[in-house]
Assembly symmetry: C3
Homo-oligomer: 314 residues x 3
């Protein structure tokens, strides 16, 4: 594997899921692979799980890790070509990516959607510039439209927890007062759509995801209907794609509760975290019928599977 920016970079998803499960069983078995190799973790946005799990996975594989918060440790970066740089951005990504690439064997980047300009966000300008200029493999630590390290951890978790061969997986929108990116939901759809799980999406009218991500998954606007018989309830808030970046409703009836979970097939609640308790999902659900901690813990093995596959081809 050369890059891990989206699902398109993955030859064999099932093999990557299996690799994650193997790494979990023997975390330190391949430390020679990363010896004298360095990964740079470049954060344009805050992070908890991604920061720690990627650092840990890289060190498990014997790598050195360098971390930089853009705009805090370093200056802000200009992403647009051809501009006169007379604003607050002191360096162009053309130089920054190439320079970081000269110090690192792999660069991993987090850069959220701005949610102002849909075309710009969906062009994935930060990832694409790094891919273009860094000269080394790029790992997506959540970009404007995708979060593939999360999606891989999600699939690992479902594989570990599923009780039937072909579980019913429901992606449900959750209420929130702030506009959040579509990246996690997009990416989850993209990855689940290539499994043979039964997959259903539920959200209020106006929250339809981009067609290239939602694919052919059925959309059911009645949450209760969608949840019936679910083995996994994947909750996430996102802002509108069609009315881009807007919060169209905060309808609290979309919060996942014990009553909602009673509609499922003794289903397990999943969420990428961080999750706002009693706003998106109740304490009871998180404390009694969820796998969110296992899912977050699997971020370590998802990252380790990805880094191993990239290291092997360096």
């Amino acid at each position: 594997m050369r890059n891990f920016i989206s699902l398109k970079d993955v030859e064999n998803v099932q093999e990557l899921v299996n690799e994650g499960i193997r790494q979990k069983k023997a975390p330190f078995a391949e430390q020679a692979l990363g010896k004298n190799k360095t990964i740079g973790l470049i954060f344009f946005n805050q992070s908890l799980r991604t920061r720690l799990s990627t650092q840990k996975a890289a060190e498990n594989l014997g790598m050195n890790v360098m971390i930089m918060n853009v705009g805090q440790d370093s200056w802000q970066l200009e992403m647009e070509d051809g501009v006169i740089m007379n604003g607050d951005k002191a360096e162009h990504v053309k130089e920054a990516a190439a320079v970081i690439g000269s110090y690192c064997n792999i660069i991993a980047v987090r850069a959220f959607a701005g949610l102002q300009d849909r075309a710009a966000d969906y062009r994935e300008i930060v990832m694409e510039k790094f891919r273009q200029y860094a000269g080394v493999p790029i790992v997506n630590l959540e970009s404007a439209t995708r979060h593939p390290c999360q999606s891989l951890a999600d699939l690992i978790t479902i594989e570990e927890c599923k009780k039937v061969e072909r579980p019913k997986v429901v992606l449900t929108w959750l209420p929130h007062f702030k506009p959040l990116p579509q990246a996690v939901a997009n990416s989850f759809c993209e990855w689940v759509n290539q499994t043979d799980y039964e997959f259903v999406i539920t959200h209020p009218q106006g929250y339809e995801l981009a067609p290239e991500f939602a694919g052919n998954a059925p959309i059911i606007y009645d949450q209760n209907e969608a949840l019936k018989g679910a083995d996994f309830v994947y909750g996430k808030n996102w802002s509108s794609y069609t009315s881009y970046g807007q919060v169209l409703t905060q309808d609290p009836s979309w919060m996942i509760t014990q009553e909602k979970m009673a509609l499922t097939n003794n289903g397990l609640f999943m969420h990428c975290l961080p999750v706002r308790r009693n706003l998106k999902v109740t304490d009871w659900v998180l404390d009694n019928q969820s796998v969110v901690i296992q899912q977050a813990a699997n971020r370590q093995w998802s990252a380790q599977a990805v880094l191993k596959h990239i290291l092997k081809e360096l």
Copy 2:
């Protein structure tokens, strides 16, 4: 040792002091102990000595170190149970501690007192939540009411410097314009109270420490009287415990000067640092009759003793 949150976690203080002194003599002798083990250093507040000495101690023992500034690298964390999380805290400590615990073998946490709500501070909510949810040992890097890594380094320093078997140790309040936590003073009392040193506390009226920390140590409100014959003068400012978090006086006559030190038995000035020169203690004292650098340097060995004892029982 399972945790190192307070003195109560320590079976044998003298043995831990001796361990610190042993680690100082052979810093790299036990690197196998920490191999493939990771410590997470989680900072809710700024740090210089604690950050660097704990990282160094962990690396001396062969560990990997991951550092996270909460609210800067990551989001803010909610500590209260049962709340509707619709404010500025995006993640609950229940999830955060468990997730960090899934990546780390030990978690070390710094979280100062808020100084607004005494009951909340003295409940030690952050340490207790991490202890409850992390699933791995917790090390206190200064909490609302204690700073045990500092106290252990203080005892190591006194043991190294004492000229009599049972030195006279005086804890003296120092003036400051800002309200500071009681943690260092509390912790110093807690640790010294279980030695057989002669221990005296001096501070202005209204600055009495919590009884569970001050214990039976005599309080002398006349600083000059208290300093007489002291072998060690441990200076620290703290805000009022009884009028919680308030600055009752900034009386400059409490500053430690050459004249004050002349009252002692050629005593040595100690302070946990940072110290404001010529506000709390004069240049002359720091530059001529103090062991503050040795004391800070011993933070490395205090941390290393603690981590070794925890690693041995992992």
Copy 3:
């Protein structure tokens, strides 16, 4: 080598340049040298290249690295002696440097010029205090008046790229709207002035550098005249030294363009980065006739040469 604060600390510049070129060829050949040695990277200002290249170089040599952003990770530091510390600086450099020195074998410090008080900046107070109090070697990661790690990388780059034995090197001022320090320009002059390159400085009237740095290099106020036949065009903006810290002009005709480069001997554009495109130099020059990425990449080898020479004498 004991310290690397300025050129004065270097016995043999040519040997250090050669060491950089050797390290580039065999980056991991001397990992035993840094085993159980720790470098502290202390940043009073932002950094991209310096942060990452120094960390990488140290790890290539087997060292452990601890990084601290002053005022962000830790408190602000007081630099002046004898003051009553009742402001926003909680710790004095006397303590901070000594304490950091107790945890580290080498300390590397970045602290830019304040540009308010020329005498203070040119006294190099931060570097000198660290040199005085740390008790371990100090590496300058850009100080008020110098950036020697950059200058060494610059010489390595010129040595790698030069087509004649004695190339013509032109240092040219570039336009910018913000007042920037003189450090990079000063340091470049200081280092080039001890080579036998043909060296010319060009800038608008009023931008004369301090005589101790400019030395005897000819100043040509006509940029076009200066560029004629240049093999290397080293661009940099700096604020006025004589009207200290002021922006006297932003004259856009000083921007380096394809037309300007046509005056040279097929010269190569150099810049320490970050560089503001189309303000200081055009896209065309950076994308077609520059070695800025190679120059930045050489920061790794410049740092590694410096650290190796210091480690050898520890």
